[in-house]
Symmetry: C2
Subunit: 275 residues, 2 copies
């Protein structure tokens, strides 16, 4: 078995966010190969390109294998100056811009880095306002803003509500609040009075008791709160409440924040902005 | 001038996060064209493909122009079933998988949706732990965890620290704390005693007083805190403190959270994970 890692370069003239998403997505198709990823951001001058090219050449020589270079450089002179025969180049723009220019009957600007700039000031501000909203409305801290919320997540403590609210805010500008189910709400399977007026905004998260117990134990092991019996009881009561009130429910046990957030976007048909 | 919007489909068999990043990045090269974007997620069965194909055909007919279809579908039967001659297809995998297979001398798995799953459990948990860390260590709420922090952001109130900490946590699994400069810290340009032991972790954010005033006014207009004189004074004092202590500084006035976060990653040479 070949134990040497294959060297990958992600090269961007800006934040590198797009090239990393794109590159990881393609590389995830080869799970058996060990990659060593070198991510270079803000490579935005001929001087930096020369340095980067040198780095690629050294990597090729030392590893004895051509590195794979994923690039989202947009300026043609930079792209041309990076090319070296010792590496395999995957160029995101080169492969698609021609097709787009032809189909849209317009030339690409070839101006760099507009993806993650504060271009659409409005859009960016919505996202930041949404982050602040999520922080203010975390864990039932206050409920007077629920009228402004686009979605209110409901679930037992540590079922994953907070990171999902923050992700919905940061990535999509969604105003998301969350309400933790505790005590009497759970005991009587009653929808808390505070939430009665917002039924159409409610989305419930549930979780396997074993998984919940593991999460709770990480910070509060030993406490009653983190015991499996308590977790089982709370989850059962919460699920009863969700069923009685016909709420949409998602099990977060083996699902990532990204998957939960996009499922909520879709199921609740939320209008969103994109970064 | 053509006022009709060009219709774009983003089609994914999973969260749609990759296709949106990739698609927006390419479309941002044509800023003068108005796009109407239809993002379809979890298109993961032949039944859903048939429905989607119909939707594309209707859009083509109604708009009189071929829609552009950005796709990150990985399964070949799904891809084949989506193809229709009335649209222009941009296929992220088709264009690069052959080259990758040849270069890596291995076949792609063609298994879908592994990018945003909880595959690398370790990696995912690091990110979630980092989010909880950022929430616990927001705005100087507690300082006993600073030894665990990888970076501590320093700046006046509302200079953008919190969203950056959350972004660093969510996207890169970085343990980021933040400390707001107020009162005496500012008056004497003294590095707060609590931070003395962590100099090498400090990263300072500054902001133009006009921008700060605008942000503070959104929620607290009328207050002393939001007056331009106060903003000017605080920023001047903070910048004095940063200079005296030779801290790395970034002006956040016209820079997005994504740009701030990636600049910090780079300048502080932080090790990070990726989603």
């Amino acid at each position: 078995m070949n134990t040497q890692k294959r060297i990958i370069f992600f090269i961007s003239d800006s934040t590198g966010i797009t090239v990393e998403k794109w590159g990881h997505s393609l590389l995830s198709q080869f799970p058996d190969i060990d990659f060593q990823i070198i991510s270079l951001r803000y490579v935005d001058s001929l001087e930096k390109i020369a340095k980067t090219r040198k780095q690629i050449e050294v990597a090729a020589k030392n590893s004895g294998m051509p590195p794979l270079v994923f690039s989202t450089l947009i300026e043609l002179p930079l792209r041309a100056a990076l090319k070296t025969e010792v590496a395999v180049f995957l160029d995101m723009f080169e492969n698609f811009l021609d097709l787009l220019e032809e189909s849209l009957q317009q030339k690409a600007t070839h101006v760099r880095g507009s993806t993650h700039r504060i271009t659409g000031q409005g859009t960016y501000m919505v996202r930041m306002d949404a982050v602040n909203f999520a922080l203010r409305n975390d864990d039932g801290l206050r409920t007077q803003d629920y009228a402004q919320a686009e979605v209110i997540l409901l679930g037992v403590s540590r079922s994953g509500k907070t990171p999902v609210c923050l992700y919905l805010a940061m990535q999509y500008g969604i105003f998301a609040a969350n309400y933790p189910l505790v005590g009497e709400d759970l005991q009587f399977s009653l929808l808390p009075a505070l939430l009665q007026g917002f039924r159409q905004k409610l989305f419930a998260l549930t979780i396997e008791p074993q998984r919940l117990q593991k999460i709770r134990s990480q910070r509060h092991s030993g406490r009653h709160y983190a015991q499996i019996g308590q977790c089982r009881q709370e989850v059962a009561q919460a699920e009863e409440l969700f069923a009685v009130n016909h709420l949409p429910v998602l099990d977060t046990s083996s699902v990532s924040v990204e998957e939960i957030a996009t499922q909520i976007l879709m199921q609740m048909q939320l209008k969103y902005v994109t970064p």
